[in-house]
């Protein structure tokens, strides 16, 4: 069970992909309100988005992207039923991947 939600829809020649990831996105600069200690950095560094086997978008992030990140992108040439794969890797080396099909 993956925590990445993907929705890909086709409009004319353009495919719009919207995805929502589940991640704390800690910058490493925030203090815990109870203990007063810094919360260690824990954020997604890289997101790779693929249409079939072709990389369409590579995102590199800092902790400045909001918690539970939202990402939307567009590309041309998709066909209904094509797989879209989104994979993220965070600064602790954890990784998660999910895929969905383009809806016509």
């Amino acid at each position: 069970m993956s925590d990445i939600k993907i929705r890909a829809s086709l409009s004319g020649d353009e495919t719009t992909v919207k995805c929502l990831m589940s991640h704390p996105m800690e910058t490493g600069m925030r203090k815990d309100s109870k203990t007063g200690e810094l919360v260690p950095a824990h954020f997604i560094e890289e997101v790779v988005c693929k249409h079939k086997d072709e990389v369409v978008l590579t995102a590199n992030w800092s902790g400045g992207v909001s918690k539970n990140p939202y990402l939307s992108f567009k590309f041309k040439g998709g066909v209904a039923g094509d797989p879209i794969t989104v994979t993220w890797t965070d600064n602790k080396g954890e990784t998660q991947s999910a895929s969905d099909q383009i809806k016509g």
């Binding site: 910058t27 560094e45 890289e46 590199n60």
Partner: protein, 155 residues
């Protein structure tokens, strides 16, 4: 008094030791992940841009459209959309000018991607959201001011 100084010294050296260890552990992974630490940890925009795109002098272009709220009530979640009709865009970077580390995200487009990206960012205070677009070797930028009511970088 002497004892207190000694404690401080001990604490200091312990802290320095653990930083060294952390850096040692981090280094190999960063090398693998291709994540541009120099740019993303930079405290000012010129350093971040030079590290990321090799230049810090983008030309202003109104062909870059930034969609963001005029007033963001919650700085922790500011929706930002960047779109351009410039041809041959290879990457787009999003910067919040007054954040402690201003570079928030960079997006590299390949294949049949359209130069459009939408995400949500954190903003520490009222500032400009700057989008820098790379076309070949040239950089273009545009900015939009966002008023932040409650800062979103904790504290």
């Amino acid at each position: 008094m002497i004892d207190a100084t000694r404690r401080t010294l001990l604490k200091g050296s312990l802290a320095a030791g653990s930083v060294g260890v952390a850096a040692g552990l981090l280094a190999p992974r960063l090398a693998l992940a291709d994540w541009n630490a120099a740019a993303f940890q930079a405290k000012d925009i010129p350093t971040a841009l030079t590290g990321l795109m090799g230049s810090d002098a983008p030309e202003t272009s109104d062909r870059i459209k930034i969609k963001a709220p005029d007033i963001a009530e919650n700085g922790a979640v500011v929706p930002v959309t960047v779109e351009t009709d410039l041809e041959g865009v290879t990457s787009i970077a999003i910067i919040a000018s007054k954040n402690q580390t201003p570079l928030i995200a960079s997006f590299d487009f390949s294949g049949s991607a359209i130069p459009f990206v939408s995400t949500r960012i954190k903003m520490a205070e009222t500032a400009d959201v700057v989008a820098v677009v790379k076309v070949g070797d040239k950089l273009y930028q545009n900015a939009k001011s966002v008023k932040v009511t409650i800062g979103g970088c904790g504290g």
